[in-house]
Amino acid sequence: MIVLAMAIFPLIYSLSISFMHYRLIPPMPPRFNGLDNYAKILGQARFWSVIYTTSVIVIFSVFLQYVIGFAVATALNAKIRGSSVFRVLLLMPMLIAPVAVALIARMILNPVIGPLDQFLTMFGFPDLPFLSNKNWAMGSLIAVEVWQWTPFVILLMLAGLQTLPRDVYEAATLENASKWRQFWDITFPMLLPISVAIIFIRIIESFKIMDTVFVMTGGGPGIATETLTLFAYQEGFKKFNLGYTSALSFLFLIFIIVIGVIFLAIVKPYVEKRS
C-alpha cells in the first residue's frame, strides 16, 4: 500500500500543481490559474524544439539499434564458435550506468586526447566538432544511445530467434530457398510481434533520455541537444517554477502516450495480417 501510495500520490499532487501558478523563488502563495501553464508551454518555441530534438534522437537511435541488434542476434544464432563468450561480452554496455557511458564517450570524442579524433585524422578528417557543432553533437548522442542499448535488442531478439521452429527452415532448405529469402519470408515475419514489442519498449525508454545528454553536452551547444527530461529539470531546479514544470511533465506524458498509440496503430495491421 505504501508502494501504491508512492506511485500514485506524486501524480495526483503534481497534476493539481500543474493547474496553479506556483513558484518557489520568489516565494509566492500558489494560485489557481487553470490551463494557463499548458497554454504558455504550447506557445513556446523552446518546447517544440525540445520535442523535435528528442524525437530525432529517438527515431534514429531506435532504428539503428533494431537493425544492428537484429543483425548481431542473427549472427550469434548461427552457431558460431565462441558465441557464448560473445554473448556475455556484447551484453555489457546495457548494464553500465548511462552516466559512465557518457563520460567514456566524452573521452573518446575528445579532440585532443581522444583516439577517435586521431583515427579520423589519419583519414584526413582532423578536428571534427563532435560535441560543439549542433549536428555532430546530435550524431554523437545517437551513436552513444545505439552503443548502449543495442545489447538490449540483441538479448531479446536472440531469445526470439531461439524459439523459432527448426523444421520450417529445413523445409525451406530442401526447396532451395536462399538464406536471404529464408530470412525475409520466415525469420522476419515470425519475429514481427516480438520486434514490435522491443521497438515499443525502446521508444518509450528513449524518450526519457537525460543522463547521457546531461553529462555529454548539457543540452548544448545552446539548447540544440536539450531533451524533454532535461528541459523539465532545468525549469524545475534552476528556475523553481513548479506549476510550469508539473504542467510540462504532464504534456510529456501525454506526448509519449500519443506516440505509443500512433506506433501501435501503424504496426497493428502488419502484425495481424501475419497471424
Binding site: P10, I80, S84, F86, M92, V99, A100, N110, K179, L228
Partner: protein
Amino acid sequence: MKIGRSFATLGLFFWAFITLFPLYWVVVTAFKAPPAVNGGPTYLPWIDFDPTLQAWRDIASGLRGNFVGTVTHSTLIGVTASVLATAFGSMAAYALVRFPFRVKLGSGLIFFAIAMGGYLVLLNYGGLSRSNSMLIAFSAALVVAVLVNRMHLPGPIMGNEDIVFWFVSQRMFPPVVVAFALFLMYSELGKSGLTMIDTFWGMTLVYVAFSLPIVVWLMRDFFAALPIEVEEAALVENVPSWRIFVDIVLPMSTPGLAATFMITLAFVWNEFLFALFLTNSKWQTLPILVAGQNSQRGDEWWAVSAAVMFAIVPMIVMAAILGRLMRSGLMLGAIK
C-alpha cells in the same frame, strides 16, 4: 553457407570491437599518468606509456570526493531496495498468476476521484497541511473503493491481465513527472518533521516503488511457467496458501528470483534522475558522484576513468553472471 558464416563471424568481431574498445579505453586511461593522457592518445601499457596508480591514489585519498561513503550508500540502497522490490513484487506477481482478481473500472475511477478531490478539498478548505490531507484522502479513497468494488457497478470489469497491463504501463511514465512531485512531497514531509530527502529510507522507498513494475512483469512469467500440479496437490492437503508460496513456489523459482534481483539491482545502481532530485550530500549515490567528476576539478581524465570504473565493474561482474543464467535458457520465459 561457408561464406555466410565467416561473414557473420567478421560482423560479430567488428561489433564486439566497437563494444569493447570504449571499455578497454577506460581501463587503460585509469592507469595512465597525467602526461600520458594529455599528450594525445596512447594505447598500450608499457609500450606507449608507463602505467601508474596515481588516479587510484587520488581517489583513495579522498581528493575526488567521498568515494568510500558513496559506494557504501549505493550498495546499501541498491541491495535493500532490490530485496524489498523482489519480495513484494514476486508476492504480487504470484497473486496475479494464481488468483483471479476482478476490479471494476468504476471503483478505480471513484478511488482516483476521492483521492484527488479529497486532497484538494482538505487542503484548501479543511485547513490541513499537505501531508495530512494527502494521508486522509488516500485512506478514505481506499476504503470507499474497496467497499464499492463489492457492489454492482456499471462499466467494464478488469481482470488480471488488465491489472498487469496497468502495472507495466507505469514504466511508460516519464520518471521526471514523478521525480519532481516526489521532491516537493518529500520537502513537505520534511517540514512536518519526517526527513525524507537525502535519507536512506527516502531513496530506498522510491527505488522499490519504481522497480516493482519490472519485478511483477518478470516474475509473473516465471510463476506462470511453473507446473501447477504441485500446488494443487498441496491445496488438497489444506496447506495454507502463504506456506505454498514460501515452501514450494519460491524454491522452485530461485533462478528467476536471482535474475530479477540482479536486473533490479542494476537499475537502482545506475539510476540517475531520482538521485539527482532527491539527494544532495549525505546519501548521494554513485552515478551523481561520477557525473560530478567531470566539472569538479576540470578534465582530469585519468581520475575520471578510475571513478567510472567504480561504477561499471560491479555491473560487468553481473553481466557475466547474467550471461550464464541466460545461456541456461532461463531468460527465455521472461520475455514471451
